[in-house]
Amino acid sequence: MKKLMTGNEAFAYGAYLHGVRVAAAYPGTPSSEILANYANYPNVFAEWSPNEKVALDVAIGAAYAGTRAMSTMKHVGMNVAADSLFYAVYTGVKAGLVIVCADDPNMHSSQNEQDNRNYAKFAKCPMIEPSDSEEAKQFVGIALDMSEQFDTPVIVRSVTRLSHSSTPVEYTEEGPPSPPEELNVYKRDPQKFVMVPANARRRHPVVEERLKELADFAETTPINYIEPGNSKLGIVSAGISYHYAREVFPDATFLKLGMVYPLPEKLIREFAEQVEKIIVIEELDPFLEEMLKLMGFEVQGKDIFPILGEFSPSLIRSCAVKAGLIDAPPAPPELKSDLERPIRPPMLCPGCGHRALFHVLREEGVLVTGDIGCYTLAFAPPLSAMHTTGCMGASIGVAHGIDKAGVKDDVVAVLGDSTFLHSGIHPVIDVLYNQGNTTTIISDNNATAMTGFQEHPGTGKTIQGQKTKVVDPEKLVRGLGYEKIDICDPYDIDKMQKILKDHVESKEPSVIISRHPCVLSTREKHTPPEVDPDICINCGICLEIGCSPLVQEEDHVRIDTMLCNGCGLCVKVCPQEAIIEK
């Protein structure tokens, strides 16, 4: 039967169907739902690891032990896991190892739009790229078979539009073949698996030879194929871009590449002989285009289609019209109205503890080095209380560096609990070791909130619902040697203000744990307060906390009770005491 699945659901289903028994990941949009879905299948082990590098090592270990394994991550997660990717390509695997990696063209929820196809070439690792959910399911199986046939990890690339689009998938209630009865005995082979220079030197030629064999495989694999059409125009495409291109060029000859690295040179030559002109349609970098040019083919690509952002059929059509490849379709008249439509950026939720913390930070005027999470939204007006954000865990090292550069500002680093456990532990060690005095604030909402409330080592539960040990950030930093540690609910504004002043004035490295559970996960809600219109002078101070239910009317502020969570932060900040708790 056919079932609609998102690309991510289909990756998970494909992994289950093709016998993946161990999978590990750290959540990251647009990849998070792969592991979340996989974890619900029977007889599998899934884990949220503290970060992507740990996740990939876990998957590599399982594959070494003879069990099919998967690691999933967003594109920037691959930066974290890259060290492990590179060694695994050298050692090879025993059972199949698939890495599903999702890029985010247009940065819907990311700090950059790096094209991870470059990792395939860089790490010398084969990469395949499905274009819809049915292929997502199948390609995981193909990747696992390739992985075992060629003794290498295989990357399956996704993008946001594939991961988050739903398309029909052939689905059966039947699961994978039953698991082996006996426990595997680990087959020790240190020459292959211990990457000391002497062994690694022996492995590098294996890697190079393997790439040649993979290129031969690419010539015959059914996931690379020519779709015959008009001989005037030949289009090379892969992944989701293929479908956009199909809409715009229904009559062209297509070379649809399921395998984007390494490329099938003979097949490309065969294709080139059938067409007068070759166009490469690919999002982000000219990855295929450059390789085709190196092979000596005359192709166009990035001179027609942009290197920036996400593609769509509309965009491909307008570029193709501009380049004279197609005639402009009949279009309705241009819109005349220039109606102003104010933007609607995402905001911290009503009742969010991050808001209370950043209200205090702004009031105190400290320089804030930030990090990746919902709280990054505090950079935007009206809170405007975050001054740097780069990548996961960067806040602490950046704050320490600013301190060491010798500025007058009081600097604090702010990051969430899940981000702290992902990559904040090494930098707090650095501050301590190198005699810094940075104050690190862990804005602890007991959730990986932004990506959808995944469990993490601090929540006490695993992805598969088991109770487990809780990693307590306070005990952790105390154990490292921090002595100045305070824990405070940011809704206690006065206390938080006092603690903050004390910490930034102190010469000692310190940690503040600002603890308020995410209201979306606790679903905590109270009666909304009311504004007394006779007392309210419409000064707008409450609006500065940037809470969506607060609406400025002509004479006073009003609270939209549908949106309000009743947290009472506005009651605390109103200097006129015009907002009254109910």
Partner: protein
């Protein structure tokens, strides 16, 4: 079998994703090839959320092209007003008569366009703008979060397909304990366009 392209636009938290899932599933039940696209993540924090749903004989792109949408389903007035350029001529805009201020409007730094202005803008492309008091109807039935199901009810009369087929999908896709209530919401929405 003719292609039908739908665009849904709303604000994070309004339930556009569930509604788009239902609409896609109905298409599949009616025998269409179906694709659907939306973005999850940051957008859910009160930001804009839009879904593309395409029914057809054979659908390649999950994204609807500009100048091509047959139906715009607006969960919020301003959000509907962002997408007239996606509509084909004589298409239909079905808009929930409901307003959620964006932050700049709350801060008094921008103004929310009037319903009249929004209607005029949509009518530059759409043959008709149909206002539905979706949130109101859902609220009266006990839960404003059912607005999407009300709007789908109104849409169902225009798109076609047996009422039973739609109700069956609604029943399968909403939480178990709210099935009956959602079916009521669907029928209430359907009555708007009867």
């Amino acid at each position: 079998m003719k292609n039908i392209d739908f665009l849904m636009a709303g604000v994070g938290g309004q339930g556009t994703i569930l509604a788009s899932n239902i609409l896609a599933e109905v298409g599949l039940q009616l025998g269409y090839d179906v694709k659907k696209a939306e973005v999850h993540g940051m957008a859910q924090r009160g930001g804009q959320v839009d879904s593309h749903i395409r029914w057809g004989e054979k659908v390649y792109s999950p994204l609807v092209e500009e100048n091509s949408a047959d139906y715009l389903i607006g969960f919020e007035m301003l959000e509907a007003a962002r997408f007239p350029h996606y509509l084909k001529e004589k298409s239909l805009a079905l808009v929930n008569d409901y307003r959620i201020n964006p932050p700049l409007v709350n801060l008094g730094k921008a103004s929310y366009p009037s319903k009249k202005e929004i209607e005029a803008l949509l009518l530059e492309r759409a043959g008709k703008v149909l206002w539905v008091k979706g949130t109101g109807i859902a609220k009266d039935l006990g839960n404003p979060a059912m607005v999407g199901v009300v709007l789908l009810g109104s849409l169902s009369n225009l798109v076609g397909g047996e009422e039973e087929a739609w109700l069956d999908v609604v029943g399968r896709m909403v939480p178990q304990k709210f099935i009956e209530l959602n079916k009521k919401a669907f029928i209430a929405g359907r009555e708007v366009t009867d």
